[in-house]
């Protein structure tokens, strides 16, 4: 039942979007608990359309306190890119949505981009987001990704200028990741005004799925942000529950609430 990895992420997300569904992309820090792949499966069952798998890094400059803490805990458990990929290989057969890995670039660079890409594909990963590789440095990674058949998702920020936004949408694969706000990941009381403005600008220049992330902390946030885009990514709100010791079922319940809010529109 595994489809070829090439273009799988975008094909899958487009099909679901074009079927009238708002997309939900939850995030989990790989290796955060011994049972993290259980959580991954439960999130799929709760209605995720793709899953982001964070590869923990010692210096996550784009992440706020929750994902920093999650990364640290995962590293303290002895998590490495290799253990995450091994865990994923073990569940790949029963995960029927695409997986998107999120490493920081040094983890890729240290392994060697070709090897990182090949091993990611072998573990069933379809796409990769590297938050510290902007357009200017894409040449360091993209050739290896393309050769391996991995889709590289690019991030757009509220202050990305129009010309650049168009180029970025053109080069992004799988989907375009719109950053809702100026700042790092983390829960917020409100997502803010910039999310809608960026989503509208992105939708004007691209037909690729537009997923908005950062700061989405509740079902209400998810519905409001998704109204202007094709879907939302949710990270810290999920990882805080995990850090607080919530059982897998309770965290999955939160994902199901997000799903219901998106479906209700």
């Amino acid at each position: 039942m595994t489809e070829p990895a090439i273009g799988r992420l975008e094909t899958h997300l487009r099909a679901r979007r074009d079927g009238g569904r708002k997309l939900l992309v939850p995030y989990v820090t790989g290796g955060i608990t011994p049972l993290w792949t259980e959580l991954l499966r439960a999130m799929v069952a709760a209605g995720a359309d793709a899953i982001e798998v964070g590869i923990p890094f010692s210096d996550p400059v784009m992440d706020g306190p929750t994902i920093q803490e999650a990364s640290l805990r995962a590293l303290e458990r002895g998590t490495t890119p290799a253990t995450i990929l091994a865990d994923l290989r073990a569940v790949a057969a029963d995960v029927d949505v695409p997986l998107v890995a999120m490493p920081y670039f040094n983890l890729v660079f240290r392994a060697g981009p070709e090897r990182f890409a090949a091993e990611a594909v072998a573990a069933g990963i379809s796409g990769v987001i590297i938050p510290d590789v902007p357009l200017e440095e894409l040449g360091e990674w993209e050739p290896a990704a393309t050769a391996a058949g991995l889709e590289t998702v690019l991030l757009a920020s509220p202050i990305t200028l129009d010309d650049r936004l168009a180029e970025l949408c053109q080069r992004s694969q799988g989907f375009v990741y719109g950053v809702n706000l100026m700042g790092v990941t983390g829960e917020r009381a409100a997502v803010g005004e910039q999310a809608g403005a960026l989503a509208r600008r992105l939708k004007r220049v691209t037909d690729k799925p537009v997923i908005m992330g950062f700061g989405v902390s509740s079902a209400d946030h998810a519905r409001a942000v998704a109204a202007e885009a094709d879907g939302v990514a949710v990270g810290s709100a999920i990882m805080r529950r995990v850090l607080d010791g919530a059982p897998v079922e309770a965290t999955a319940m939160f994902v199901a609430e997000l799903r219901a809010a998106l479906d209700a529109g």
Partner: protein
Amino acid sequence: MSDPGPADLGPADLGPVDPVAVMGEPDASGRFGRFGGRFIPETLVAACGELDTAFRGAWADAGFRAELDGLLRDYVGRPSPVTECHRLSEAIGVRVLLKREDLNHTGSHKINNVLGQALLTRRMGKQRVVAETGAGQHGVASATAAALLGLDCVVYMGEVDMERQALNVFRMRLLGAEVRPASSGTRTLKDAINEAMRDWVATVESTHYLLGSVMGPHPYPWLVRELQRVIGDEARAQCRALLGGADPDVVVACVGGGSNAAGIFSGFADLPTVDLVGAEPAGGAAVGRGVPGVVHGSKSFLMQDEFGQVREAESISAGLDYPGVGPEHAHLADTGRVRYEAVTDEEVLDAFVALSRTEGIIPALEPAHALALVLRERAALAGRTVLLNMSGRGDKDVAQVSDILGPDAGASRRLHQ
């Protein structure tokens, strides 16, 4: 994932070195050879571009240069003198000259960079700066410049360093800066940089990141080196005056991020007869370990584990306690133009005592690394003239060293013949 992989290539074969080309401008992608670049989140790309444009404009603007030169003269006290160390030279058989950055206002070379960037902040129409600090020297210099120019200043400092350097925390607060603890990760300099970058991602439209060394994304490594170039330019002329038109045989400096070293080396890099040597702490020798990596915006040498997780540096000197090094230094090591050596904490303490007792100059622990290397290599250096960048004064380190040396105050640490 345990075999080292292609990131572990040794020094590239770059052919013969063109001495004039070294320490010029990086290429359009901000690279010095295979190092440098701009590995940053999309949110910061525009600000780095804006900074690059602003700096080019300012550096070509005689008015900006005159204002900066005026501050360096009347506020910092430049030019800093070159002092000949007669007693030390006689004791070790090497003629040692010191470039006295320790005599600058605020006590180190950091102020040269800070004043330039503070003026740039104003030129870009920004009212707030964020800075990182380890020992507190760059934080104090930033707080000073912010007070002078009326800017808001937030300094991030690792929680561990805030305890170790409580007096500098007070100084920054006294100068009107807000000091915020970096409580994540190892709670030291690298985490303070992480926090400053996280602040900047959220505030970039109104805030300038006042980076303290020749690291970070392009244009910082180049911009900071240009602002520190004044050390090398002055020293070259001062040495010629002192040495009857000749140049020193060797120029030596300590290397943390690498700004004081880049500053003094840039005045001599085009002189093939002058050997350039950088002294790294043994516990933080990023160049010495020679493994490339990417953190805090650029590709350089980086202390890390086999998977790419950044390792903690360990040094007696908080100012050199950084697991990376500026990308231009990685390139200068690649080309062979600069030789980098690691010195131990014990050697540093010997040097700290030796300079205090023979010259009446208490060095900061950072430049004591450079002197430690000269002392170690004194047989090979016999009869030669060495210019050493005395990047800062030792006042900030006296409490720490007194705990280590005790009431004997180093009397038993005689220079060994």
